[in-house]
């Protein structure tokens, strides 16, 4: 077998090769020092991507976090409210369910602005459920002050939240 491309290594690591193809790649990796070195060099990035938590978490993403036993806490916030949502001890990740009427909606966009009013992120096509969007707050990204989150559904503003952690 000829040596492997980066694309093949990525597809293999992601589990997207057919079983026979995956086995051929694996046998080659065990037998070829150069390809093994390339794959070893690539692995930290792919592993880090697995641990990279998006700002808005889908149900599948939440299940993945639970599978990995990531200590997390949950809370929920209704639209139009100014709320204090402290970080519970023992968890570095807080999932805040932003409640909003999203049944029948085709697309949801989300923007978060920091205490200074500047945007921290603005995302289109975020994952959502019929009644909510799940915002992932990581402890090491916290800052004092109030954050404003805005949800738009099919280009219409549908909900706003003001959240502080301190």
């Amino acid at each position: 077998m000829s040596c492997l491309s980066v694309e093949e290594l990525v597809d293999w690591f992601a589990g997207d090769l057919a079983p026979a193809e995956s086995e051929r790649v694996e046998l080659h990796l065990f037998s070829c020092g150069d390809c093994s070195a390339d794959a070893t060099a690539l692995a930290p990035l792919l592993t880090a991507l697995r641990d990279h938590i998006p700002y808005i978490v889908s149900s599948a993403g939440l299940q993945a976090l639970e599978r990995r036993h990531v200590p997390l806490a949950h809370n929920e916030v209704s639209s139009g409210k100014h709320v204090l949502v402290p970080f519970p001890d023992g968890s570095d990740l807080l999932i805040i369910k932003l409640l909003a009427p999203l049944a029948g909606v085709a697309r949801v966009d989300c923007e978060l602005r920091g205490p200074d009013g500047l945007p921290w992120f603005s995302l289109t096509e975020v994952p959502f459920d019929a009644d909510s969007v799940q915002l992932a707050c990581q402890r090491h990204f916290l800052a004092p002050g109030e954050f404003k989150v805005t949800l738009r559904a099919d280009d219409q503003a549908v909900a706003e939240y003001w959240i502080s952690h301190f």
Partner: protein, 180 residues
């Protein structure tokens, strides 16, 4: 040509390592472990998705290999990789069934060093700089661990297109991370 006992070739082939281990060369055992530990660990990360489990697999697999070499049991000493691959597959099946061999602590050289890791803040910054579609693909592929066919369907893409976008995203990230 006779080779003096004190002479060792700079880079030994797999077959040469196997022959040396069969006659009790502990240095060859260390070299073998250094050579193959990263490969086993990588295989473990792919299939077990857990660093600790991958390290466990590495220890067990290398022990199986060394024991076989010491006992001169390998039919094809030049195909250590293939033997080790088979051993890893069997071990993972056992691990999934909940079986555990007694873990024998091998020399430190057998354990592949942990990844130096990536700068997570740098990664976050580079990730945020990706086009939205690429962010979605990477999150769904690696964080959510969803099959590419499913991701393509969810994003209204063909599987081929999804694969291309993912590769482009990885290339962009590597460039961005490498430029740090």
């Amino acid at each position: 040509m006779r080779v003096s006992a004190w002479y060792r070739p700079k880079v030994s082939s797999d077959a040469d390592l196997a022959r040396r281990i069969a006659v009790g060369d502990s240095e060859a055992e260390s070299e073998l472990c250094r050579r193959f530990a990263p490969r086993v660990r990588l295989y473990g990360l792919r299939h077990l998705r857990d660093e600790e489990a991958a390290r466990d697999l590495t220890q067990q697999a290398l022990l199986v290999l060394i024991e076989a070499l010491r006992a001169n049991k390998l039919e094809a000493p030049d195909r250590l990789g293939a033997f080790l691959f088979g051993a890893c597959r069997n071990l993972i099946l056992s691990m999934r069934r909940g079986e555990r061999r007694a873990i024998v602590e091998l020399e430190e050289a057998t354990v592949a060093p942990a990844d130096p890791g990536v700068d997570r803040r740098r990664l976050a910054s580079c990730f945020d700089g990706l086009p939205r579609r690429e962010q979605q693909l990477l999150t769904m592929s690696f964080h959510e661990e969803r099959p590419l066919e499913e991701i393509a369907s969810a994003l209204a893409l063909t599987a081929v297109n999804a694969r291309v976008i993912r590769h482009r995203a990885i290339a962009r990230l590597r460039d961005c991370m490498g430029a740090a």
